[in-house]
Structures are given as C-alpha cells and as structure tokens.
Amino acid sequence: MTNLDAGMQAIPLFALIVAIGGTHVLLIAWRAKERSKPLLLVAWGLVFGSFYLWTLTTASDKGVALGITAWVAIVLIYLLRQAFASPFRVKPIRSKSVTQSKTSTSSEINQRQIIGVIGMVMLLGPLAGLSAMVLATMLFVVASELGAEYTANLAVASILFPILWAGLAVLLAYQRRSLVRFMTVFGVGATSLLSLYVIV
C-alpha cells in the first residue's frame, strides 16, 4: 500500500473526527450565555469541512451525502448521550380525583370537527395540490420560454412542485379564516392558470 492509498483510507476517519469536533463546538456555542459568532463560525466550518473531506473519498454528490448521513448519525449519538446524562424526571403523582375531574370533562371529537377535518383534507390535498401543480407548470413554461435547458428545467420544476404544495398547505393551515384560505388557494391557482394561457 502506498502512502497515498493510506492517506485516502484515513480520510473518512479524519472526516468523522472533524464532524465530532464541529458538533461539540456547536454544543458549546449554543449553551453559552453570550452568543459567540466566531465560535458558531468555527463549528459550522468544521461541520461543512467534514462534508468536503468526504468528497475527497468519492464523487462530490455521494461525498456530501455520506458527510450529511455521518453527521446526523453523530448528532443522534450526542443527543442520546445528553438524554442519559440528564436525570430521570418522575411525573408527580396526582390524586385520583384531580385526574378524574380532568378527564371526565372531556368531549370527544364531534360531527362538526369531523367535517372540519374532511374540509381541511380537501383544501390542503386536491385544491392546494392543483394550485401548486399549475404554479410549478407555469414556472416551468416561463423558464422554457426564457431558454432554460429542458432536463434542468424539468428537474427544478419537479422539485419545486412538492415544495410549493407544502408551502401552500402551511400557508392555508396558518390562516384562521376559511374565506382567506379559499381565496388564497383559488387566487394562486387561477392566477397561475391565467398566466399559463397568456404565455402558451
């Protein structure tokens, strides 16, 4: 084995050590009472540095994915350590009468609430989905008209579609008034559809 081979084989180990270091510095930075920008920069620098090190072991796409996977696994181990280091809290035992009085006032989900949930599913599902799809298609067509390369445009639009759907679903669920919800979803869908017909 040449020195170069040995060096290449040591990179994953080095990347793991750098990621552990980055995670530890993050822990220190976020626990400190005063916010320290340099410490946070060092921490994130180490974490992203570990991703870069992984890219030296393989192609860059797989390298970054390996780096992220390894880092998330390291953080989970850190969290497990934190959990075991903290004392076990025992829930204070309440007298039976208190617990009973709290549960006995319970009212299960009524018909109105069930209809509300079904309405919400319809709004967030087919309606928001259609609006997001029309919006993503409109963006695809606009990019096409501007001369974007077909496969890149298709990839970006395919990624955008679920993101737009998710964003729209959050926006709708965030609203308190049903009228605003319906106006938002129809507004997005109708505007996009109209734009599409104007462009095509």
Binding site: L27, W30, A59, D61, K62, A65, L66, I68, T69, A70, V72, A73, V75, L76, L79, Q82, A83, S86, P87, R89, V90, K102, T103, T105, S106, S107, E108, I109, M120, V121, L124, G125, A132, M133, V134, A136, T137, F140, V141, S144, E149, T151, A152, N153, L154, A155, V156, S158, I159, F161, P162, I163, W165, A166, G167, A169, V170, A173, R176, L196
Partner: protein, 495 residues
C-alpha cells in the same frame, strides 16, 4: 413598546404555526406514519426477499454465457412471448440472478440452469404498501407523493413553531410527563431534518412525477405524455413488425465487463425480444455516484450504441437520476442502509410523539379525548402489529396478494375501532406490543422449521436474529409495566 409588539407578534406566529402543524398532523398523520414505518422496513427489502426464500442458490457473479442460457430458457418456456426480458445480476445485498419476463420471474443457477420461481409475497406486499398504499398505481403513487409533500409541510410548520431552535438544540430531558416527549419530538425533528426533508421531497417527487408530467405535457407537448421523460431517460426505438432470432445476450454483457470494468451491471433489459425491432439496455451502477446507474444501449447484434447520459449527461439528468437512491438509501452499502433505517425509526418516533404531545396537552387542559388517543395508539402500534400478523400468515399458511392486503387494512380498521371503544391508550399500547412480539416469535419459529436447511445462511440468520431482537425490545416496556403494576398491587393503600 416595540419589544412588546415583537414578542406579541412572535408568540402569535408560533401559535399559528403550531396550529398549522397540528392541522396537517391531525388530518394526515396516520397515513404519513404508515409510510414512515413501511419505508423504514423497505430499506431492507432485498434482505427480506432473501429471507423469504433462503434456500435459493446464491452467487457473487454469473458468467455472461450462463446468464444467456438461463434467460433464453425462461423466454422460450412462455406460451405468449413477453415484451421484455430482464436479467437481474447478483449484487452485494441480493446475490442472486433473476430472470424476469412481463409475467414471471425465475432464479438462475450459476451453471445457467433455471431454478425455482421468485416468490416473496410479504416483501412485495410491503413495497406495494409503501409505493401505492395498495391503491391502483397512478392514484396510489400520487397520494403517496402528496403525503410526502405534507411531511415537508409539517417540517416547515414545525420549524416556524420553534422559536428557540438553536438554544434548545441539545436539550434533552428524560423521564415521564409532557416535557420529555416534547424534547424527544423537537430534538429529533431538528437534527434529523436533513434526512426527513430530503426523503419527503424525493418521495413526493417520485410519487407526483406522473401527474406533473401530464401537466407539463398539456402545456408543453400538446398533451403528448410520451415526450416528457425521453430527454432524461432516453428515447424508446420504434417497434418493428416481424419475427427474428432472439438478440445477443452474452455479447453486451461481455462488452460491459471489458469496456466499462469499473461499472457494475445491475439489470439487462431486452426490449421486444425476438422481433425485428429488439434492442438491449444494460443498467450499470456507478459505485462512486448517487445516481441509480446509467443505461448502456446495444443493438440486436450486441453492438454498443452509447449511453443515455444519466452519469455524464446534463445536470437535470444527473439530478433526476439521483432521486431514487437518495430516497431508498441504497447508495452506500450496509452502513448507509443501517443509518437510513435508524433515521426511519426516528421519523416514526417523531410522528408518533407529535400527536401524543397534543393528547397530553388536551389532558392537562382538562379536555381529554381518550377514545381518539387510544385510536392514535392503535395506528402507532397497530401498524407493526398488522404487518407482523401478515408476515406470520404469509410464512405460516402461504397467504399472499389480496389476502395480505385485506388482512392488513381490515386489521388496522379493527384495531382502531376496538381501541377507541376500549379508550385506554396505555392498555392499547401494551396489548399491541405484546401481540406484535408474539406474532414475530411465532413467525421465526415457523420459518425456522420450514427452512431448517438454511438456518446458518447469510440469507436467513441476520434477518431472523433482528426479528428476535425486535420482539424482545417490544416486550421490555410491557414487562416493566407488569412489574410496576405488581408492585403497586402489593403496596398497602396510603391515605
């Protein structure tokens, strides 16, 4: 004054984001949870396939000649000629050669003889559940894709609802009550976000690709759906009338090993075999990349025609070619699969704990909903129970196909209804964990008895051992609970 307004608007934003988070969770949490559990298991679908048929002959590679002999034998054995002939080459996690037509799949032995029929009903049932929720294909794919978008929406609203995301990043308190569950939910959600966001996004992309392609086709190709994907995955040559001797099979395989030795062929596809228009594609894995592979095309005489370009073509081809592997975690061998399965379990815990927090908060406010809470526990623990019951009956009495589908969904419905009648989340949890454990133990015993000749094979013992460990882990809280209640019963009542 300004600070007060900021605090007020911030708490308002948190409250409304939490509301949005809750609305989506209450409406669709159950289905998203089923997808999370089945997705976690699907990471090991190849290992599970092997386990279901542990006695099949395994190999690290197969010679081109043997593959050709076996493929031709399977093709010629069919009364109605298949429109496709596939060879699945042995891979590290599935060291078997499978010859597949449009209707059948047989294992091939290393000498080219045809082995037994491929049969893994439970794994197929599991994959169909994860891909389509057992619905008709396009509808199922679309609903699953939509659920991926909703998981993404839950991640977005969850982040918006968390004002101290960084300060609390490492706070994790153990114990009973609401706080530890909230810590568990929040910490795991934040730190595994790279995994669940990328998985939700890729899952949504895969599921919604068909409907989105229809939309693109409507406005870009005058409704011609067939034109959307060829620039990414390559054009399909036109079908030609007339019969012809079956194309060269060994020649393209040999060409790949001499000209592209660093690429790992995974599939051989013969399109329109024994017709004038037949042609060959070999999908080869690039082990240093995230892409699922690239298509290397050959004509019927075995002459190389070029690759499609998923490995070295446009950026769009390379991005789209990476989506499948990013979602299923089969791009980095066993360590990545193990990591994905852990992240999958974590995602299932996040979803389960999310609604537990909601029910606990309602209880604290004196507005408990015990029936609904029990029904949620039935979803959480009924899913592994129904899956393990299906596995038991698939292994034990050979239940398959629609039988497994009916058993799963009827089992889930029955469990949810009975649990809400019982209205005791703790009892439901303990009961379903015990039943799941019992089903798994029985399954392992039956499997051991029916495949005793393969007990110590790589195909059998790792999965069996994992199932044993899982059934024990399931029982730990049950046994602890039994011990506690025994202690409570033996204690004299204090006034």
């Amino acid at each position: 004054m300004k600070r007060n307004i900021n605090i007020k608007s911030s708490s308002n934003r948190v409250a409304r984001s939490l509301h949005a988070h809750l609305v989506i969770a209450l409406a669709l949490g159950g289905l998203i949870y089923i997808l999370a559990v089945t997705g976690t298991l699907s990471v090991f679908n190849r290992e599970l396939q092997r386990w279901e048929q542990p006695s099949v002959s395994e190999m690290h590679s197969i010679s081109a000649v043997s593959a050709e002999v076996a493929a031709k034998a399977v093709f010629e054995s069919e009364a109605v000629p298949s429109k496709h002939l596939y060879i699945n080459f042995p891979q590290t996690d599935l060291p078997r050669t499978v010859i597949t037509t449009d209707t059948n799949a047989y294992f091939a032995n290393a000498d080219g003889s045809v082995g037994e029929k491929e049969h893994f009903p439970w794994t197929q049932f599991l994959l169909d559940l994860h891909y389509y929720l057992h619905l008709p294909q396009v509808l199922g794919l679309t609903i699953v894709g939509a659920l991926g978008a909703f998981l993404l929406a839950m991640s977005i609203s969850g982040f918006m609802a968390h004002p101290r995301i960084f300060r609390d990043a490492f706070t994790f308190r153990r114990g009973e009550g609401l706080l530890p569950i909230a810590d568990l939910h929040n910490r795991l959600s934040v730190w595994t976000a790279p995994f669940h966001i990328s998985n939700a996004l890729t899952g949504a992309l895969l599921g919604l690709a068909t409907v989105f392609a229809f939309s693109i086709a409507t406005f870009n190709f005058n409704g011609d759906f067939e034109k959307v994907f060829p620039p990414v995955f390559g054009e399909e040559p036109a079908e030609l009338e007339g019969r012809s001797p079956i194309a060269q099979i060994a020649a393209p395989i040999n060409y790949m090993s001499t000209e592209f030795p660093s690429q790992e062929p995974t599939f051989f596809i013969l399109h329109d075999p024994a017709t004038a228009g037949q042609h060959v594609s070999i999908v080869a894995k690039h082990t240093d990349r995230l892409i699922f592979g690239d298509y290397y095309n050959f004509n019927a005489q075995g002459e190389y025609q070029g690759n499609v370009g998923i490995s070295d073509g446009t950026l769009g081809q390379q991005i789209i070619g990476s989506v499948y592997n990013i979602h299923f975690g089969n791009w980095g061998g066993l360590p990545v699969k193990v990591a994905y399965s852990i992240f999958g379990i974590v995602l299932s815990i996040i979803i389960a704990s999310g609604l537990r927090i909601y029910f606990a908060r309602r209880r604290q406010k004196g507005n408990a909903v015990p029936k609904l809470e029990s029904a949620w526990e039935a979803v959480v623990w009924g899913t592994p129970f129904a899956l393990s019951l299906c596995l038991l009956l698939a292994v034990g009495v050979g239940l398959q196909g629609l039988g497994l589908v009916a058993l799963f969904w009827l089992g889930m419905c029955g469990t949810i209804i009975l649990s809400s009648i019982l209205a005791d989340a703790q009892k439901v949890r303990i009961g379903l964990r015990s039943f799941t454990s019992a089903c798994l133990v029985l399954t392992i015993l039956i499997h051991l008895m029916s495949h005793s000749e393969a007990i110590f094979t790589q195909a059998m013992y790792p999965v069996s051992m994992l199932l044993v460990i899982f059934s024990i882990v399931l029982l730990i809280p049950v046994l602890r609970n039994a011990k506690l209640s025994k202690l409570n019963r033996s204690k004299p009542l204090s006034t």
